[in-house]
């Protein structure tokens, strides 16, 4: 199929959304180095077009699940940078009130259902959310993201098997950024084209490059509509690349500088920038967006710094949910 033509307004919206993610994570990295953020911090930088394109292919009532590499999708889905940054700082104003940190963002209002840190562990959970839509005959699709390194684990297989068998309204999105921590795909899979795995579950498979946000949106829309119209699940492999290490502690020695530089030629934000100019958008208009986003993120850092630390009451009060008739 030919590459879909972007619409200027959409593209401006997408550009801003990707920029928010990029700037948010650049500041997060800086504050991690400063020691304001602890634990693991997995950056999404380089993959932004996927989260932003995906969100535009979804409706508000749809559910979204992601791995620990969750800042991008959470922000794209509408989480405020304040709540996101405060969570990284371990503050009470964070999206998980300091309980979850970077790996466990939650935003139930925006139907973003986490932030999961066990590889393969959230796929069946996402299928369960889709099962509920099916059980209640709701017009609601679930989209579940995971990395290519997660396709060898049992949790992937069982979720795919059951979703395929029961024709659940779910889209499995495999973000193939070429590496699982330090290990390239060729050392973890005999299969190179992962979308072929769909055949093993009598499921539809798709596969494409993920640097053009409009392409991502259009291709995922097909899968989303298939799920919405009762056509069952789709397994989508999107080829992408992360510009940073696996997490802050990873110097990424396993790849060459040339490989990285070459991949950066397809930086989704750059690509979009050029598309905007080609569509006749003024450089100035883009600069304005950049400025506004910078301020938004600076404010988020300030908000996080000034917020109260996570509270003991939250920790003790969320081990068990209240029962009917409790206190």
């Amino acid at each position: 199929m030919g590459t879909p033509q972007p619409d200027t307004d959409d593209l401006l919206k997408h550009y801003r959304s990707m920029k928010v993610i990029r700037r948010f994570e650049e500041e997060a990295a800086r504050n991690y180095a400063k020691g304001h953020i602890g634990g693991f911090l997995h950056l999404y930088i380089g993959q932004e077009a996927i989260a932003v394109g995906a969100v535009d292919a979804l409706q508000d009532q749809d559910y979204v699940f992601q791995t620990y590499r969750d800042h991008g999708i959470a922000l794209a889905r509408g989480m405020s940078p304040n709540a996101a940054m405060a969570e990284l700082f371990g503050k009470d104003t964070g999206c998980s009130r300091g309980m979850g940190g970077s790996m466990h963002f939650f935003d139930v209002e925006n139907n973003f259902l986490g932030g999961w840190a066990i590889v393969g562990g959230h796929l069946a959970v996402a299928a369960g959310a889709a099962f509920k839509s099916h059980y209640n005959q709701e017009d609601r699709v679930t989209m579940c993201f995971f990395g290519e390194g997660s396709t060898n684990i049992g949790g992937f297989h069982e979720a795919m098997s059951l979703a395929g068998l029961w024709k659940l309204p779910i889209v499995f999105v495999c973000e193939n950024n070429q590496y699982a921590m330090g290990t390239p795909l060729e050392r973890t899979s005999a299969l190179k084209d992962l979308s072929i795995k769909a055949k093993g579950y009598a499921m539809v498979g798709d596969r494409f490059e993920g640097h053009d946000v409009t392409v991502v949106r259009e291709r995922l829309r097909e899968a989303v509509e298939r799920a919405r119209s009762g056509g069952g699940p789709t397994f989508v492999e999107i080829l992408t690349y992360r510009f940073r290490g696996h997490s802050m502690s990873d110097p990424a020695k396993y790849r060459t500088r040339t490989e990285l530089e070459q991949k950066k030629q397809l930086d989704p934000i750059q690509v979009t920038h050029e598309q905007l100019l080609a569509l006749g958008v003024e450089e100035k208009a883009i600069d304005d967006i950049d400025l506004e986003v910078d301020e938004l993120i600076d404010a988020a850092v300030k908000f996080a710094e000034e917020s109260e630390p996570a509270r003991e009451e939250t920790m003790f009060g969320t081990v068990y949910a209240e029962e009917e008739g409790d206190a």
């Binding site: 986490g114 069946a124 959970v125 299928a127 059980y135 939250t314 068990y320």
Partner: protein
């Protein structure tokens, strides 16, 4: 009161709760068309249909995870493990997801789910099929763990479990399913609260804490001891998390002796936890160390003559009670 089998009591609990709340559904291997591997769910498919009584492929981690996800967004799944031995392939779903979601989401999400099925030895099913799993699940904060010994407790606790807003591990017993006992009459609703131990037998000489299949072994042993003039007070915690030991402490203040009888392996688990709390909270009242009668510390062999030796016996209970009573 009526007399029902343990299996029927469980079935009634599910039937009543599914009738009461459409969000409740049953999912597991052979729960529907086959009427349940152990016939606990017999008739439920006919009554509620394939939407709510769902046969699954053999993929415990998958359907446990699906249950957890469905619970997160508002349903109330009952997930049957054909036996608890098969929960081990779903262990990560239970400990990393079910038990954690409420806290990781700072309370924004709840996981009202029940995992149930037969636990422990089932007569000659050997090493891979004879696990008593309470030590694994009772140690995990975020879960509730029930292990009813009688039909009445089975029904009353399962109803409470299904209505709970938290993940519940519900341990039944293949060797208990056929057991008969009194259960409240139809129409009389009984919800047994979690964390409420039950005094099953009163006596002034020795306190016995026990649950599950060994509960019945201990009850029989107590009768024999009574014939020799040793009166045991038997307390069944009914739920292992939360663990209600207040009645046990009270009892020990009277008997000054305590024996814990359980099927699970001796190392750690609820058995050791109970000893830990009793020696702390009744320290000044104990005239003898707290003793335990447990399954032997080895994988379950197939041969019947050996299996009978591995599981707690009346004889071992009697010996333990005599030891703490300094009686020959």
């Amino acid at each position: 009161m009526r007399t029902l089998r343990y299996r029927e009591a469980l079935r009634e609990a599910m039937l009543e709760e599914m009738d009461r709340d459409e969000r409740v559904f049953l999912m597991g291997e052979e729960v529907g068309h086959y009427q349940g591997a152990y016939k606990v769910s017999e008739g439920l498919l006919d009554k509620f249909g394939e939407r709510r009584v769902i046969d699954t492929p053999i993929a415990e981690a998958g359907f446990a995870g699906i249950g957890i996800g469905a619970a997160m967004v508002g349903l109330r799944p009952i997930i049957e493990f054909m036996t608890w031995n098969f929960s081990f392939v779903a262990f990560d779903q239970i400990i990393s997801n079910a038990a954690k979601i409420h806290q990781m989401s700072a309370g924004a999400l709840q996981v009202p789910i029940v995992f149930r099925g037969p636990n422990g030895a089932a007569r000659q099913v050997a090493a891979q099929h004879s696990h008593a799993v309470a030590p694994f699940y009772a140690s995990i904060p975020g879960l509730y763990v029930c292990q009813p010994s009688t039909p009445r407790d089975a029904k009353g606790l399962l109803k409470t479990a299904i209505r709970s807003n938290n993940p519940v591990v519900f341990l039944e017993g293949e060797t208990l399913y056929g057991l008969k006992g009194e259960v409240p009459d139809e129409g009389v609703e009984e919800l047994i609260p979690f964390g409420a131990a039950r005094v099953a037998r009163t006596g002034g000489d020795c306190t016995i804490v026990t649950w599950g299949r060994p509960y019945h072994v201990a009850m029989a042993a107590a009768e024999k001891l009574a014939a020799d003039g040793i009166e045991c007070e038997i307390i069944d915690p009914r739920t292992l998390r939360p663990l209600d030991l207040a009645p046990v402490i009270e009892s020990v203040r009277k008997t000054n002796r305590c024996v814990v009888v359980h099927e699970h392996w001796p190392y750690g688990g609820p058995g050791a936890e109970i000893v830990d709390q009793v020696q702390r909270d009744a320290f000044d009242y104990l005239d003898a160390p707290v003793e335990r009668v447990a399954g032997l510390d080895l994988p379950m062999p197939y041969a019947l003559n050996l299996e009978e030796q591995v599981l707690p016996t009346e004889e071992r209970v009697i010996d333990a009670v005599r030891r703490v009573s300094y009686a020959k």
